[in-house]
Structure formats: C-alpha cells, structure tokens
Symmetry: C2
Subunit: 300 residues, 2 copies
C-alpha cells in the first residue's frame, strides 16, 4: 500500500480547544519536546486566534518561538485570518494552516465570515507568504464530510473549493471531518476526486472519531493515496463552534494501526505510550480517549 | 458494495461473559424481544457451557425455549462441546455455533482440549445434527487473527482449519478476532483466502474493538465479500479465557456505519438506541462502550 506516512500531532491545538484545563507554556513545550523525541517530525503547536475567543492560546508566540528551536521538528500553527497569519509569520512560523469551512454556516460560526470571504482573505495570506521566504501555507478545509449545522455538504462544493485553493497556490490541502460525519466510502471517493482536481498538491486527512469511524476513514484515505494524517494524543480535540464535536482520532491508536500495516510513521509506539501517561498527569480530570493505552499493542 | 447484511446481536452471549452483573431470565428475554422488535432476525441468545464455568448461562435452556417463540427471529446458541450441542438440540435449537480456536493454547484455555480434539468432537456434533432435522451447525473459529497467549497465528493454519470445517460439512464459518489483534489488511486477506478455500459456504465476521480497529475491520471484511457480522450492544463482550480480551464492536455503531454506507441491516437505529438506553438501566455500574449513543447519528 505504502511504506511511509507523516503523522502530525494536533493535540496541542485541536486538543486544547474543548477541554476546561489550561496547560501553561512550559508544559506545552514539554509535551511538544516529548513527542518530537518519540519521532514526530511535524506538530501543530498552537493557534493564532483572538485571545478573547480562545484564551488557551494566549501564549501562541512564546510556544511557537521555542518549538522552532527543537531539532528535526517542523512546528505548524493554525490561523483563522490574515491577522493571525501575519502574527505567526512574524513569530517565525515556517508552516501555517489557514482554516476555512466548506459549510458556510460553520465558517461563519468558526471565523465570523462567509466561506467566499475566507477564500478572498486567503489570497492576502498567500501574497504575504510570497513577500517572505520559506513559509508554507496549508489550508484546512473544515466540514469536508458534513456539517452539524448545515447537515450534508455537497461534494461538488468540496471539489470546487479545492480547485480554487490549488489555483490560488496553497502548499497543502487538509480535508477535515470536523464533526465525525464521514464514512469510509465517502472519504475514499472525495479524496480521489480532490486528487484528480488538484494534481500533485499534497493532501492531508484530519478525522474526528465522534461516531467511531476515525480509523476506518484513515484506511479509506490511505487507499485513496493520502499519506499525511492528523491525530491527537489521548483522542483530545473538537471544534468549540461545531455542535456535537468531539475528539480527534487518538494518536496512539493511529500509530498502532500504521505499525500493524507495516507503514513507517517514524514514531516509537512504546515511547509514545509513556508520553500518553504523562498527558493524563498534565490534564487531571479530563476524559482521554483511545483504546491502546489500556489494551497495549498486539503482541506478535 | 452490497445492499444487505445480516447483523447478529451477541450481547446476550459474548456480552455477558466478562461483566460482573447477572441478568435474570426475564430481563434477558426482554432484551432479546426488544432487539427482535427493532429488526434483528438473528440473535445469539445464550451459551450451553458448564454452569461451573459460566454460571451466568445457567438458564440457557429457559432462555432458548422462550426465544424460539419470538416471531421472525432465529435464536442461535454457542456450544463448546458435544454435551452442550446435544442439550441445545434437545431444547429445540435451530442454529448452534460450535466454538474452537485456531490457537491450540487458547483452545485449551477456553474448552480444555486441543484444537484437533475439538475438530474430532465436531464430527460427532455434525453426526448428531444429521440425525435430527432443521438444525444448522455454524463454527466460530476463535483467535483467527492472533492470540494473546500464543501471539501470531499462522494464516495457513486458519485456511487449513477452514478447509477441514468445510469438508466436515459445517453450515457456516465465523472467523473471530477474539482479542482485537486483527488489522484491516490482514482481515481482508484472510477472508479472501478462506473464501477461496471453502467455496460458497457462508462466512461471518466477529470483531472485538480492543485496539480501536473493529469498524475498520468490518469495512475490510465487507470489501472481501463478508455479509454476516456479529456485534454486541453497548460494546459488551470478551472471552474470560483470553488474556486482555475486551468488548465486541458496538451494535449501535455498526448499524450506524451500515446506514451511512446505504447497506440494509434491517435494523431501525433510532429504536435500537432506545434499547441501548434500557441496557444501561439493566446493567447499572457496568461500563458500556460505543460512540453513537452520546454523539447521535450524523444528521444529513
């Protein structure tokens, strides 16, 4: 099928959105360093969003600046708008994920503007990228597989937006199942259609396990040729502005799946499970998901 | 892919093995009736095992006799040996699942004999079937995808035993991932190989979600042509004689998956979720699994 994937940890961004606990900057950096040490080469370390909206990311600049100093790690950050993108660039970001939603209703709930307005703003972000050096702009396309506000999302609209993103010159497109509506057949079909529409542009998949289909959707995306995946340690995650949202696929379960398939994610699963134990200590009282910590890897 | 599957509820058998709670006969029958009413045409209602080993099935005959009276339902039962099979036949069983393991170590732990001795005993069970009328003998092949005692299980041995079962004249082969070691690529490969080995014999899949791969394995089995699946309401289940065993795939999550794929399982998901609420009342204090009850079906 393939011999190599890039698994990006998003627990420090997506994972910290819905929970009540607040991690201080030092713990965030300990977490980032720990995951870099067990083999992660890409970690979404923070979000450059208004502090009034998500105060847990008030230390975004400090986190990013120190994360950039970690060897063999590409720290990426999420931004909802031009202002966040410029702040991230000023802080030295080398990879920035600009988020917009296929569903207009979710885009308005999440970033307070229409999807078309986000697409227009993205042009300014890309122009800013072109004025600087060595910055990649990825785009996260939220609600690509359904929306808990609008319901079904037309697949033709997903393809259309992907084509616009490609023509605007983004460096990566990440299709996100924000609310866990995706099923494996749909996921395979949409990734194949987007691949046809955008040529060789890197594609990534971001799944939430809200209805238990996260890893089945990973398999479908793998089959469709996707080689970049997001996951969150302990199955943390969820968009605060999407009704019914819950956690991402658990990083530890995802690494275990790749191990079973003989696919190299670069991650040492045994060492990762130690970080997973630490995470539970850093977030006392928070409900963590993921099946592997209790079960252990299959022994064979 | 397909338009129809048979989903067999095994919560009343597999599901009651590991938990401490005991359900009385009347509640068991309420549960069976409730699931028949929401569309299940096959339910594994009990296990004819020695009462000294699993006292929760001391009422096996009573449960089976009353379950047989429910319209449009085929109640099946599990048996570990000839004695159990004869008891089940005497109680009027129309479908009996004889369990044996690919792994010799698990077979000894589970039914106190070697796999070859189980295969020899199965011949007597089949002879007894042939002496009577309208009885189907299915075989559950435990540890088909790995064993937590022996580790890896040779795939050639799975195929070999399936061939023996087919030649002996069983009516169905159910490949069981007793300890959740299976991965989707392996599951697809083994089901395809077994299909080639046994011709048109009905095949079924029985997955535990111990490492989060249960529904991904369902997809792989569907792709390989399997049309019969086991699941347990609330993700109950687990073999008491397999170290580290945990629950089956949750029936409600599995029905939701089939619904999303447009595959008819005959089950009314909304009505099933009401039974799922009842189950929590019948089993206070027991940890139930499954993602769908909290999340609700995707709304589109």
């Amino acid at each position: 099928m393939t011999d190599r994937v890039i698994l990006r940890e998003v627990g420090l961004r997506d994972g910290l959105q819905l929970i009540k606990s607040r991690l201080n900057t030092a713990i965030k950096l300990s977490w980032i360093r720990a995951q870099a040490e067990v083999g992660f080469t890409e970690i979404e370390v923070t979000s450059f969003v208004p502090i009034s909206v998500l105060p847990q990311f008030a230390d975004a600049t400090a986190v990013l600046v120190d994360a950039q100093k970690i060897g063999n790690l590409l720290p990426s950050v999420l931004v909802p708008n031009l202002r966040g993108a410029v702040m991230a660039m000023d802080a030295g970001a080398r990879k920035i994920t600009f988020v917009l939603s296929v569903s207009d209703a979710h885009n308005r709930a999440n970033v307070r503007k229409s999807t078309d307005d986000s697409l227009a703003m993205l042009r300014d972000v890309l122009a800013e990228r072109d004025n600087r050096q060595n910055i990649k702009i990825a785009t996260a396309l939220a609600t690509s597989f359904g929306c808990s506000i609008e319901g079904a999302v037309p697949e033709a609209r997903v393809i259309q937006i992907a084509e616009i993103l490609a023509s605007q010159g983004v460096d990566e497109i990440n299709l996100a199942d924000t609310v866990g509506y995706g099923d494996p057949v749909q996921v395979g079909r949409i990734f194949k259609d987007v691949r046809k529409a955008v040529g060789e542009l890197p594609l990534a998949a971001h799944f939430h396990d809200t209805r238990g289909l996260g890893l089945a959707n990973v398999m479908a995306a793998l089959d469709a040729g996707v080689r970049r995946f997001d996951s969150a340690l302990g199955g943390l995650g969820g968009c605060p502005f999407a009704p019914g949202a819950s956690g991402n696929i658990a990083t530890e379960d995802t690494v275990h799946l790749f191990d079973r398939l003989g696919i190299d994610s670069g991650v040492d699963l045994g060492a990762l499970l130690k970080v997973r134990h630490q995470l539970a200590e850093w977030l006392p009282g928070e409900k963590l998901e993921g099946r592997l910590l209790g079960a252990g890897p299959a022994d064979r």
